[in-house]
Subunit: 536 residues, 2 copies
């Protein structure tokens, strides 16, 4: 689906104007970066690199596509379309930060060099591949940070994602950002993400009563025995619970269609019984019905997994459910029943998980959909793709808004680490400047604000931009790691950050800087290009 | 990409549990609907139907997919997978409101009937196809309402869309909702949407000066003459503007790389010259440079198109630019120059267009990206898919939140029109109830709130749910109209609505109701299913 035509028309009209002016082969350098961290935070995770590299590896405009372009741009000369059908990305170089890294505003995530007309054609697809990927990966990582490492995080967003492929990308990058599993079968198949899911409310309400269950037999877990009437076994357990010392009187008649649905589901999946308990009433029907089925399964040597809550007060309900489970463990001596898994999944997001944490809850796993995949709190990252050099001439894009001024020059980027092992600052240098050295004091300047600068003595220096597509250069090419490896790297990198950059409330901005030499050059170029105003 | 595996795992685990219980062929009816209009408004546009119908027309699980499902559900019996590989949608019936219609909460957009296991497998893909499509169509329609009919609306969102396919869907449904064109070449090719685009800031800053232009010749529009040095013609015009009676002294030296870029672009596209004028300074460089090139083109018989503003105060800049254009028209007697097109495109949305309208502006066309395609103001619609009947037995889904209780029964839905021709109310009836009749007084009840009811004497009655997939029924099938036809229908329907439902500030809710008979039945079923609480 991601073909060279998945781009803005102006990339092709510009290509024609370049070609017509004989400038199409001018060697250009573009930076892809973002200007502001999303979600009110002070960090971002870089996602989408692999998809960009695969895109340029296959970049070729087909005859059919050329034919369509001719119809859209009927005044363009034949020679241009011949040129278009000849191009590929063999002469393009791509340097990028590793996918899954923690990244910051203004520092190029990717530096793309090549013939200006070709690189310009990459702008829209690259932005389209990186923007949402980085946004949702960051969103997932933020959910992981607030939920904590011990909780299971499940991505349930396919139905609310922005289109089918939005759903697939959401699953992929939620996993990258630290989720454990997805409900999306296609994403599981494509990317090897663990898949989870049990049943919905419709399954529960599709049953009318226990007499619908005709095949009532269940063979025990070890195959040694057979219960001919599992339904009666469940019913007996329900009576025992109702009459038990701790739970007697806490509930009356439970919903029988729900009980039938649970029993049926257990007969189908005795090894992985997990029930959605809020179709009628959690504490007066769903949880007692679940426990009756779980105890019957226990008799047959199976261990139920747990329950899912999908509405109401999750803090209260999870705590009440946990008490119920503990009472079962105590009254019937079923070791471990108190630890039964509780999954929650009702319009959850960072805020609600944070609120649940503050109230106290007994949830073991969170299923998160809409707010995760649509990035509801901030639906776009706003990556840009700016020309910084052409034919070795540095270029700058001015703006009345200082935050929108681009940082000119083909640059190198370094991450400097301090004594405690945390990253301290990212610094950009001109391409030919010597890189920062371990133990050597270096002045780091804010690119635009004169007064903001600091000396740093790095204990470790990491060059950030690695060669992912060497083009005709002799640089060796970085391998594309697996999704699982990128995910592990992302989790590790989040751990390495100083906690005050990562906290939800008033996080400390991470410093992004330029060398003194680059600072001076930026401001020389800026003054040079900006017209002097005249007040009248 | 939209295959049967693009679904939540629980649809397959439920299918197995149904199959295992011998219930998989039970005839079920599901309603697909939403609960609340988006963007603080009181209307929604239905989009995504065609994609749903194409999906079920091709619904078939391949051998490879079955193999994957076996690996995910290793405890399931072989017979189930044989069943899965046999299913298609030949026994499914789909009734739907026409795509592009104005629709309201609680009224089913689609009613899907068929074997419960199969229909359940359609839930996630259908929701995934309808949710975003309807949301972005509605968003586009809202932008059209605030911009007014005379403005050109251009969708520029591909780079900020949620993934590549999000971009394609956004272009398709923005057009459906009333946009005029897109920048997305692939969407233009797939759906026949008009495509627009000129050049970016990078194009402007890629030029260093006029000496870069080597081929300076331009043949006149009618082919009768040739200007050997178009660059000098442009430079001469710039001097004339600078010395003109109205404009002399309003600007000094313009940026020469910008002038070179504009001249180059005009040489490439003399028939459609439109320039982005804010790379350096709109009034002191961009607009004068544009006018010099436009006047030179005029000498050669070409008519420039206009300018694009992409930053700053758009109300002020567009007004100043318009004054400049009028001054050119007056000083040089170029008839029509004052009406030159002004396009604006800087992070625009409904609010900013509304604010521009209030301030007064001279913008002719709006290019809208991020806020349109990500539906930034509300990133999800929240359509649901609820079981309302199985084996002819009505089913209800309860919830502590009344707005989440489903309306049971297989239903028919009607739109009733009043004397002035406006739609007055949508009403749902049981399947076997007689439909509303023209001129006959009918009681319309709110489905949940006892006190809300009204008598209506409809002047026109429209049955809303049409047969789009007859399955084994004898109903005839509605044709799928073209995107252009759906767009026209959408624009027309928006016109037909009473204006107070459509206004931005405090719109009047449109009434959605049930018949007295259906009301009574809902509340009977509700009481029947809900357990009675016991306060302790």
């Amino acid at each position: 689906m991601v073909t060279p035509l998945l781009t803005d028309l102006y990339q092709f009209t510009m290509a024609y104007a370049y070609w017509k002016a004989g400038k199409h082969l001018d060697r250009a350098v573009f930076d892809l970066y973002f200007r502001k961290n999303p979600f009110g935070g002070e960090f971002t995770i870089f996602g989408g690199l692999e998809e960009c590299i695969r895109f340029i590896a296959n970049f070729k405009i087909t005859e059919d596509e050329i034919k369509f372009l001719r119809s859209v741009m009927p005044t363009c000369e034949d020679g241009f379309f011949e040129y278009l059908s000849s191009i590929d990305c063999s002469d393009v170089e791509v340097y990028a930060i590793h996918e899954g890294y923690v990244v910051f505003p203004k520092v190029p995530l990717m530096r793309i060099e090549g013939p200006v007309a070709v690189v310009q054609l990459l702008e829209t697809p690259f932005l389209s591949l990186v923007n949402y990927a980085s946004l949702v990966t960051t969103n997932a990582a933020r959910h992981r940070l607030v939920a904590g490492k011990s909780k299971n995080l499940l991505e349930f967003g396919l139905r609310r994602a922005q289109g089918p492929d939005g759903g697939i990308s959401a699953s992929r990058y939620s996993y990258m950002g630290g989720f454990d599993a997805t409900s999306n079968v296609a994403a599981g198949r494509l990317f090897g993400i663990p898949i989870r899911g049990t049943h919905s409310h419709a399954f529960v309400s599709s049953f009318m009563g226990l007499d619908e269950i005709t095949d009532k037999a269940l063979i025990s877990s070890d195959g040694s025995s057979k219960c001919e009437d599992f339904v009666s076994l469940v019913q007996n357990w329900l009576i025992k619970i109702k009459d038990s010392s701790s739970l007697g009187g806490t509930f009356g008649e439970t919903n029988q269609s729900e009980l039938a649905a649970f029993t049926s589901y257990a007969l189908a999946f005795p090894n992985s019984f997990l029930a959605l308990v809020d179709t009628y009433d959690v504490m007066r029907s769903g949880v007692p019905n679940f426990c009756a089925v779980a105890l019957a399964l226990n008799d047959m040597g199976y261990k139920a997994v747990g329950i899912r809550l999908d509405s109401g007060d999750l803090a209260y309900q999870s705590a009440e459910t946990r008490k119920f489970f503990h009472a079962i463990e105590k009254d019937f001596g079923i070791v471990g029943f108190g630890q039964m898994n509780i999954t929650a999944s009702n319009d959850l997001n960072e805020e609600t998980i944070d609120a649940l944490n503050k109230q106290g809850h007994e949830v073991d796993a969170f299923g998160i959909g809409t707010y995760l995949v649509t990035c509801y709190a901030q639906a776009a990252l706003g990556c840009v793709f700016k020309l910084v050099e052409i034919n070795k001439q540095p270029r700058i894009k001015l703006s009345e808004d200082v935050t929108k001024v681009s940082i000119p020059c083909k640059k190198k980027c370094y991450r400097l680490y301090g004594k405690e092992g945390y990253p301290l600052v990212d610094i950009m240098t001109g391409e030919d400047e010597p890189g920062p050295k371990i133990g050597e004091r270096l002045l780091c300047r804010h690119p635009f604000i004169e007064s903001k600068r600091a000396y740093v003595v790095p204990q470790h220096v990491e060059e950030l931009l690695k060669c992912y597509w060497p083009g005709n250069s002799s640089n060796s090419r970085e391998e594309l790691p697996s999704l699982y490896e990128i995910r592990s790297r992302c989790i590790q990198h989040l751990d390495w950050m100083r906690p005050d950059h990562m906290r939800r409330l008033n996080p400390t901005p991470y410093k992004v800087s330029v060398t003194a030499k680059l600072y001076d050059f930026i401001h020389f170029l800026w003054l040079n290009e900006a017209p002097v105003g005249e007040l009248q």
